[in-house]
Symmetry: C2
Subunit: 415 residues, 2 copies
Amino acid sequence: MTQYDAFLSRTAAAMRESAIRQMGTVLAQATDMISFAPGYPAEDALPWDAFREIAAELLTGADGSVLQYGPTRGYRPLRDAIIGLMRERDVTSPLERVMVTTGSQQGLDLVARVCLDPGDVALMELPSYTGAITAFRNVGASLVGVRQDAGEIDLDDLERTTARLTSEGRRVKFLYLVPNFQNPTGSILSRARRAAVLEWAGRHDLLVIEDDPYRDLYFPDVASDADTRPLAADDADGRVVYLSSFSKTLAPGFRVAWLVAPEPLAARFELAKQAEDLCTGVLDQRVVYESCRRGVLAAQAPRLRAHYQHKRDVMVRALEAAMPGTVGWAMPRGGFFLWARLAPPVDSNALLPHAQTRGVIYVPGRAFFIDGTGSEFMRLSFSSPPPERIEEGVRRLALAVQDAVTSSRTPTACT
Amino acid sequence: MTQYDAFLSRTAAAMRESAIRQMGTVLAQATDMISFAPGYPAEDALPWDAFREIAAELLTGADGSVLQYGPTRGYRPLRDAIIGLMRERDVTSPLERVMVTTGSQQGLDLVARVCLDPGDVALMELPSYTGAITAFRNVGASLVGVRQDAGEIDLDDLERTTARLTSEGRRVKFLYLVPNFQNPTGSILSRARRAAVLEWAGRHDLLVIEDDPYRDLYFPDVASDADTRPLAADDADGRVVYLSSFSKTLAPGFRVAWLVAPEPLAARFELAKQAEDLCTGVLDQRVVYESCRRGVLAAQAPRLRAHYQHKRDVMVRALEAAMPGTVGWAMPRGGFFLWARLAPPVDSNALLPHAQTRGVIYVPGRAFFIDGTGSEFMRLSFSSPPPERIEEGVRRLALAVQDAVTSSRTPTACT
């Protein structure tokens, strides 16, 4: 019998499954399950007709490069289009700083491999996106949490934590942030704190990893384009690695995203990507490029803002109706997520089996906290289900909470 | 001025560009350059009509999952189809051992991350595929070469090297092999040596990484299906990690490949992939699956065998005509490559600038040798250019050799 443990690297031996992907597996196996778990874009809101037309034109065979290997940095016209998108975000991005990635997850993985040695410190908010947590953990980095206050990074805790790590001689590399409609909290970082974070990075000679997949999905009733100005727009020293994606605005199945980084880092990301997958899917890049060029992306953005804002409203009204006093939340100002806090005695870990029994799933808050806290929270994604399923899902969730409360009051038999 | 070196991980600081991708950059910038460098499939041999039809049917919007996130292990029907393809190769592959990867390059990278700690030894043939060299190097592994004799791995050298490393207390993890139509040599491993390698792996309790992208592309005049039987087919102990791809038989632009591994390793590959890119492009997987289901792949294989066998013949005849006595080679029995040995005084590094000036490029042999040798070889890929360009490219190469000989006889001025 071959013993495989001996063949594993230290990091592989420590790898764990992401809680979000676990929920994806639960979902794939269930029938009539309503999912508030993975942050899936709404499939019925995708521009199918445009994609079909573009694919048919690309696949005539007239241009063979559509299905050939492509450059590691990405399809050149798409990189140029990304420069244009970045300009709309007030970020000047020379071509040599722009690279296409296979989803933003690859961008996070490249950051991990290029910037982190085992034991190096990555600072992350409490809570933070699980995909980033996994990527940084997989290279053996030491993740250190920074608290939030009222949904924004706590600058005092950031200073205290940095000072403590420095005094301990730890090697801090960067702070990871999702400033716009954070995954999981849905909150947005104020302009003042963005400036303060940049100032902090300069003072301590550190990088900021700015992950910005939801930027186009602000909700016009409570947020505007101006609120989303990236840290990268004011990055005079070249301390920001900026990641964004077409997954939420066009479609995730293409796996096309991008990063903008200081040139010496971009060159290393390219070398690391070369060994990871040679290049991002070429047909996918071409479809995405044509969607930019023909205005499909520009037309999608306002449609999707209205679509997801409406679904947020449906979820909020359903929660107010079905679970008054049981959960609290801050109104999401964009993105896919409502971050709900459960009132005691129920916590989101204990609630989950009851929710699954009732036919609804979510991601327990603990998945987003690198310090093991967060059990009072759950992430509810309103992006994918249709409105009537959101309402039904919240009703099921309310029943599950009642089940959990009842169950918590039932003493365990001692026989 | 921000100093970026301080932000690099040790492995990132040591990353180097692959020589093949460098040639790709040269190619992209040149006009009228004939490329024998990257192993690009022939674009005019792709089944464009079938792809266009399939894409149009998939992109109606009737099935929203076509552009959604998908499972990390891959689209389930495609994994089932891969089980069928493996059965044709005499390999029994239960579903839990099969995983889709974003190109075989990702498979190699996953092997590197899951199996290799810095300093661990990966055994590789001299010469070996550069993509594997880069992937293993990027995790800080120690690469140790095993000689070939007559284009096949030298079993005595394999034993000697293993014994030496063991006596030195080194941690050897696996041998990496491309048994069918090796990249770069185009050679095929005999059935007897395949059995001997498996026996060696069992005796030393080691893994074999079997990279098999060219298996379907044997040349019927000198090889048959039976010659290509994978080591995995006779792997009773579960020591083989098998990699293969749709890049050479359908199209590389889809970035769809697969691996079959012992279940405990497959589970780790899945975790590592989850953090790398969440999933492989979903539309790409669906197009590839439909190509399997509708018989497009089955129809392609014999067409491509004839296509590439013909191009091999064109290149061989051109070399015989234009470069008699200047280069030697073993007849490729499948795949994309002719491995040419230059007669002194010219070597493939010195020749390259002359070749570029004459309008032809190739990959210098040194790129495939982890010990820095191999300058007498060059890899000539006959897969992509049309026949008349192959002939013209060889004529240019012959002129470049004359230029290089002349130049080597011209004494350097000493002023």
